[in-house]
Amino acid sequence: MGPKPIGLKILDILSIVLLLIATWMVFFYAPTEAVMGNVQRVFYFHVSTAWIGMLSFLVAAVAGIAYLVSKKTSWDIVEVSAVEIGIVFSLIAVASGSIWARPIWNTWWTWDPRLTTVTIMILIYAAYLLLRAGIDDPGRRARFGAVYAILGFLSVPLTFFSARLYRTIHPVVIGTNQPGATGAFDMTSDMRMVFFFSLFVFTLFFADLLWHRIRMGHLQERVEELKLQASEGTD
């Protein structure tokens, strides 16, 4: 792995600065929601992290297709990197949503369609990492990973549309809320600005993290190659 590219250095600085600005806007610029109070501020990063989770799984599926077409291992590295980041951000979205739910829904958790489908989605991708780790042959592992990432992606639109198609307590930002949805609110223009800015900042942060994780993946590949050569040399 060579020295850190200048583009990545710029992206690092930009991500940190913009994340700080987004955080400041969430706490000091966005108005306090009239009914829910300060806990509604969780909304900005809760939705942004959920968005990054789903975007990551989309990237993984696209990388899976690209791998099956090209057979280039670099696509396999993109795929596993995206899945790892997707799991982390989906877990953040679930945990922050649970904390927001406690005062609003009067419970930390309920098995409603959105929460159930998001749990299934995370478990599907956690299984991806576990199953991959059990395959030694790199070619077989990459083929398996590619097919799994493509099929696993079916859980993402199911999760996204679950709050729109089924009766659910979970409110939606885009589209019409179900009659039983609790915690919905009308966004003011200031809230909307903070929301879209947070989405933009997290998308940039995702690109930064993915780049770092891909570089680590290439390093890991090189180490595995050398280990294999070393073991062949001693045999």
Partner: protein, 56 residues
Amino acid sequence: MLFLLQEAPAETTNYMIAGYTVIFGVILLYLLSLYIRQRNLKQDLEILEEDKQDLK
């Protein structure tokens, strides 16, 4: 659901703090894990390349 009956916003600041602690905490943990894994891989690479040179 009593918050629906009140006029002033509900006092939910503690939940907001907890929410953002989790968000930033998990992100920092992930960044730390990336840093540690990368450092360990670099160390492994150095050792393996040294061994390869020695074998030559």
